[in-house]
Symmetry: C2
Subunit: 231 residues, 2 copies
DNA sequence: ATTCCCGTTTGATCTGAATCAAATGCTTAC
DNA sequence: GTAAGCATTTGATTCAGATCAAACGGGAAT
């Protein structure tokens, strides 16, 4: 099955043999959510974690003033909420909502726990996978604190570029601009204006598609070290 | 041994029986660092993670402009760098420096990996411990993005209060104000001014000691939900 | 005790982004 | 096709925090 192949490419499953991955794929539940549907709420019992077959999912919290704080937005073929499932509370610490029509695999905790019990090497590789995610969170903190708006947007765009591409890249924005804005901790108005400040650096916006003339130029402006440095 | 008792209180070791903990304590290395000494640099091979017996350690990165971005500052009896040790790179993704005179336990990766191999239930509890840390990072993102300076400082102070205390609490600042400032992503000047904005809420600063008249009042201002909510 | 150094405070000014307000454009539903 | 309802853009104003500059203060070394 195709899903199994995709699964195997994630950090979480990469240490597993094909047979086991297939087992996971078959024992997990495929579910479809429409844009705007809630997957789970903060405080819910964390019985499963998720693999996105297709679509985009945001994790967010609601502040006391009723504003959304975006924690992360996950892309197709990413897993999320693993930490909640293994955490001491076994509750989701955030809310999750599909921001586009989304198909995902719901993987029950129990299945995973059993597999780990039987194979402790696997546990170490999972430990590694979760650790890697933590690394990403650290980057996000740096991103949010040090950079300013246009550079944050630039970095976001760079991440959307297919690897290897160098010039005249058309990047379709994966979800609403207003969501991208809040994900980057910017107001929609500021986002709109900040995007224009990227034009001198070879980035043009046509509706929902951004065209990047030259990736190196944008990267230089955004001050991104190598796009994914080993540390 | 005393260190073993302290160790057992950390999330990472809480799932281990006394005998094993004692083994860890004995096989690990106790090291002392003076204020300002570097523990490791970004990119170094991550052969060990750490438990702080006494002192304070900052994790930070250097931006291209040469500025420090503070990722976290760890307190006595906390562990850090577990994720790096189990991550796919096995390299530290940040720099670490003692910000006060510090004594710590250096726990080798190998020791841990072997123990997990032999006891996969332990693996699950470690998974949980790392997951909990991730949760903390998420809070930090929220903290840095949503709140403004005086509230960030207030939240920081609240964390330093001994549990159970309610009024007229004297809190000694654990390290330099300028470091606290950057840790909270505030300039030192702004920190100084923002601190004064807490006076109307019952917080007074006397040198390196803050006096909190009433914890509830400060908590209300900072908009902290219950100080450690289960989710 | 005096000096030096560095962390901290205070003051004045600047600026990026938020906010308030309104116009425009795109989708969706009828 | 048209109207309604959002999302996005544009404009004007405000504000929190950064930056620049200078004074202050306390600890360490002499």
């Amino acid at each position: 099955m195709n899903t199994a192949n995709a699964l195997k490419k994630t950090a979480l499953f990469s240490g597993m043999d094909d047979e086991k991955v297939a087992l996971f794929a078959s024992k997990s539940l495929v579910r479809h959510y429409e844009k705007g549907e809630e997957l789970f709420a903060m405080g819910d019992q964390a019985a499963s974690f998720f693999f996105i077959i297709d679509g985009w999912v945001k994790l967010y919290r609601i502040t006391r003033e009723g504003e959304e704080s975006i924690i992360n937005v996950f892309a197709p073929h990413e897993t999320f909420a693993e930490a909640a499932v293994f955490g001491p509370m076994q509750r989701y610490p955030v809310n999750a909502q599909a921001v586009e029509d989304t198909t995902l695999l719901e993987i029950p905790r129990s299945l995973f726990v059993e597999t780990i019990r039987a194979d402790s090497d696997l546990a170490i590789s999972i430990l590694g996978a979760i650790a890697a995610k933590q690394h990403y969170l650290i980057q996000q903190i740096e991103q949010l604190t040090v950079r300013e708006a246009p550079q944050r947007i630039g970095t976001f765009l760079l991440r959307l570029c297919p690897p290897g591409a160098t010039r005249n890249i058309e990047v379709a924005l994966p979800y609403d601009k207003s969501l991208i804005a809040r994900r980057l901790n910017i107001q929609p108005e500021t986002f709109s204006r900040a995007f224009k400040k990227l034009e001198p650096h070879g980035v043009h916006l046509q509706g929902r598609v951004a065209v990047i003339e030259e990736i190196g130029r944008l990267a230089a402006f955004c001050d991104v070290e190598d796009r994914d440095k080993p540390c």
